[in-house]
C-alpha cells in the first residue's frame, strides 16, 4: 500500500470497492492492527487519537472491531460464549442481547445459541455468527471485510439491514465489498486500486467510475485508463 488517505466520518457507512488484489483487505487488517500488517510509514487516528502503536486489544477497547472475509472456525466454542465476548466489551451481557443479535442476522436463537461455531455450522452461517458477535459489541467503528461473501444472494438485503442497524446504533462502518448493492447503501465510497485510494465520493459515482473508467491490465490487478 502506498499513499492511502482515507477518512471515515462519525456515524458514516463508508464502502471501499476495487478489484481483487487492490489492497482492500490489507487496509482492513492495518486499521485493526493485526500482526504482520504494521505500516512502515504513515499514521492512523481514531477519534483524534493516534492509534498506530496500539495493539489489537487496545484498539478494540476503544471500540474498533473487524469482521473477516473468512471467519475463524473456533472448534468447540459455543455461539452463546462467542457472542458474550463482544457483549462483555459493551457491558451488555444478557440473553436478550444474544437473541437480538442473532435475529438481526436472521438466525433463530433457539436453534443456534447452544451450537458450536465451527463444525455444526456452514461457512455462510459462521459468517452470520461473526456479524452477530460484532452487533453484540456495539462498536464505534466496525470494519467489515466482504460481509457478503459466503452469503447467498437472497440474504444480501439482511447484510445491508445489519449494516444500517450498526449505523443506527451509532457505529461507523467501513465496509469492503464487491457488491454494488452494499456500496450503493453506504453514505460514501472509496475506490482502491493497486494499493492507492484513487477516489472518494458519492457511492454511485464511485461505482460507475470503477465500472466505466477502469480496465483490466496485466499487472497484478487493474490500473486506471491512461495511466
Amino acid at each position: 500500500m502506498r499513499g492511502v488517505n482515507l477518512e471515515v466520518a462519525d456515524g458514516e457507512i463508508h464502502s471501499v470497492i476495487g478489484p481483487n488484489g487492490a489492497g482492500k483487505s490489507t487496509l482492513a487488517y492495518l486499521l485493526m492492527g493485526l500482526e504482520g500488517y504494521e505500516p512502515e510509514e504513515g499514521e492512523i487516528y481514531f477519534n483524534g487519537e493516534l492509534i498506530t502503536p496500539l495493539s489489537i486489544t487496545e484498539r478494540a477497547k476503544r471500540g474498533i472491531t473487524l469482521g473477516w472475509q473468512e471467519p475463524a472456525r473456533f472448534e468447540g466454542l459455543k455461539v452463546r460464549d462467542y457472542l458474550s465476548i463482544g457483549a462483555r466489551q459493551a457491558n451488555n451481557v444478557s440473553e436478550e442481547t444474544f437473541c437480538h443479535a442473532l435475529e438481526m442476522v436472521n438466525m433463530s436463537p433457539e436453534l443456534y445459541l447452544d451450537r458450536e461455531v465451527s463444525e455444526a455450522l456452514s461457512g455462510g452461517e459462521r459468517k452470520r455468527i461473526e456479524l452477530a458477535s460484532i452487533i453484540t459489541m456495539e462498536p464505534r467503528l466496525a470494519i467489515l471485510d466482504e460481509p457478503d461473501s459466503g452469503i447467498d444472494v437472497l440474504s444480501l438485503k439482511e447484510v445491508i439491514t445489519m449494516i444500517q442497524h450498526l449505523k443506527n446504533k451509532g457505529s461507523s462502518v467501513l465496509v469492503i465489498t464487491h457488491r454494488e448493492e452494499i456500496a450503493a447503501s453506504s453514505d460514501r465510497a472509496s475506490l482502491m486500486c493497486d494499493g492507492i485510494i484513487v477516489k472518494t465520493g458519492d457511492p454511485l459515482e464511485i461505482s460507475n467510475f470503477f465500472k466505466d473508467e477502469c480496465k483490466p491490465c496485466d499487472m497484478k490487478a487493474y490500473t486506471l485508463k491512461g495511466e
Binding site: 485493526m32 495493539s55 486489544t57 472491531t65 473487524l66 472456525r73 472448534e75 466454542l77 465476548i85 461473526e130
Partner: protein, 319 residues
C-alpha cells in the same frame, strides 16, 4: 437390585469432595435406580447394581477387580456411574476391568477418576471389553489430577466389537497436571460395527502424554473414528499414535489429531494407516501448531487480551 454401602466414613466424604473436583455429582451414588461404584484405593466404598446389570467387585492388594455385565436385551435407562480415586500422596492403584455388553443391550458409563493429592501415584487400568452383536456401549472418563504432576495414569484396553455393535469412548484430562499419561487402546471392529475413540488432554509444565489407539476394522462395513485433541504448554511433551487398519470390504476408518503447542512444548503425531482390502478405505488428518492466529486475533478484536483469547480457544477445543 443390590445396594452395598460398605463405608460411610471420612474417606467417603473425602472421595465425595475429590469427585466433585473432577466434575462429578456425588448425589448419583445414592440413587437406588442408578448403578454405581465408588472405589478409593483398593477399598470399595459403595456399589449399586440395577436390573439388567451384573456387577461383581473384588478388592485386591492394590486395587479392585471388576466384572460388569449388561444382560442380553437390556437397555439401561440411566448412565452407570463409576468413581475411582486415590487420596494418599503415594501409592499404586490397579484396576482390572472386564466389561461385557451382551447381545442387543445398551449402556452408558460415566467414570470419574480423581487423584487430588498425588505426589507419586500410579493408576493402572487393564480393561477387556466385549460388545456383542448389536449392543451399544458408551464409556466417558473424566480425570481430575492435582497440581503436583505426580500421577502416572496407564490405561490399557482391549476392545472386541462384534457384528453390529457400537462402542464410543472418550477420555478427558484437562483439570490439574497430567503427570504421565500412557494410554494404549486396541480395538477389533467386526461386521457393521461402529467405533469412536476420543481423547482430550491438556498438559503443562513437564507433563508427558502418550496416546496410542489402534483400530483393526476386520468386519465388512466396520467404521471407526479416532479423534485426539491435545493442548500442551511449557515443557510438556505429547505423542499421539493413531493406527487404523482396513481389512474388510467397505470398512472405513478415519484418524483425526489436533495438537496445539505453546512455550517449549513438543508434540508429535504418528498416524498409521494400513489397508489390505481394496474395498476398504482409511483416511487421516493431523495438525500440530500454535493456537490459530485468526481465532486469537478475532477475539482480541472483540476486546480480549491475547492470553484470555488463547485460553478460550484451547478450552473450546478441549471441552
Amino acid at each position: 437390585m443390590d445396594v452395598i454401602q460398605l463405608d460411610v466414613s471420612d474417606e467417603s466424604e473425602a472421595m465425595k469432595g475429590a469427585l466433585e473436583l473432577a466434575g462429578g455429582d456425588a448425589s448419583v451414588f445414592k440413587m437406588p435406580h442408578v448403578s454405581s461404584l465408588v472405589v478409593s484405593g483398593n477399598r470399595i466404598l459403595s456399589a449399586n447394581q440395577t436390573v439388567g446389570i451384573v456387577l461383581e467387585i473384588k478388592s485386591t492388594e492394590y486395587g479392585v477387580d471388576i466384572e460388569l455385565t449388561i444382560k442380553k436385551g437390556y437397555k439401561i435407562p440411566d448412565p452407570v456411574h463409576l468413581c475411582f480415586g486415590f487420596l494418599p500422596k503415594e501409592g499404586l492403584q490397579q484396576i482390572n476391568v472386564s466389561m461385557i455388553a451382551e447381545e442387543d443391550s445398551s449402556v452408558q458409563l460415566v467414570a470419574h477418576c480423581t487423584f487430588p493429592n498425588s505426589e507419586r501415584v500410579i493408576h493402572k487400568m487393564d480393561a477387556n471389553i466385549v460388545i456383542h452383536k448389536n449392543a451399544f456401549l458408551k464409556y466417558d472418563e473424566t480425570h481430575f489430577h492435582g497440581e503436583m504432576g505426580g500421577v502416572e495414569v496407564i490405561p490399557k484396553a482391549k476392545i472386541d466389537i462384534r457384528e453390529g455393535g457400537r462402542y464410543f469412548t472418550g477420555l478427558t484430562l484437562i483439570s490439574g497436571r497430567v503427570g504421565l499419561l500412557d494410554l494404549d487402546y486396541d480395538v477389533e471392529a467386526g461386521k457393521d460395527s461402529v467405533c469412536e475413540l476420543s481423547t482430550k488432554v491438556h498438559g503443562k509444565d513437564t507433563d508427558t502424554i502418550k496416546i496410542k489407539e489402534k483400530v483393526s476394522l476386520i468386519g465388512e462395513n466396520a467404521r471407526s473414528v479416532t479423534k485426539s485433541r491435545v493442548a500442551i504448554a511449557d515443557n510438556a511433551v505429547a505423542e499421539f499414535t493413531g493406527i487404523t487398519e482396513g481389512h474388510a470390504p467397505h470398512a472405513f476408518g478415519h484418524v483425526d489429531c489436533v495438537e496445539v503447542i505453546q512455550g517449549n512444548a513438543v508434540a508429535c503425531a504418528i498416524p498409521i494407516v494400513r489397508v489390505d482390502n481394496p474395498l476398504a478405505k482409511v483416511t487421516h488428518e493431523a495438525a500440530i501448531g500454535s493456537v490459530d492466529k485468526k481465532e486469537v486475533e478475532t477475539l482480541m478484536a472483540r476486546g480480549l487480551e491475547e492470553g484470555e483469547a488463547v485460553d478460550i480457544i484451547v478450552k473450546g477445543m478441549l471441552l
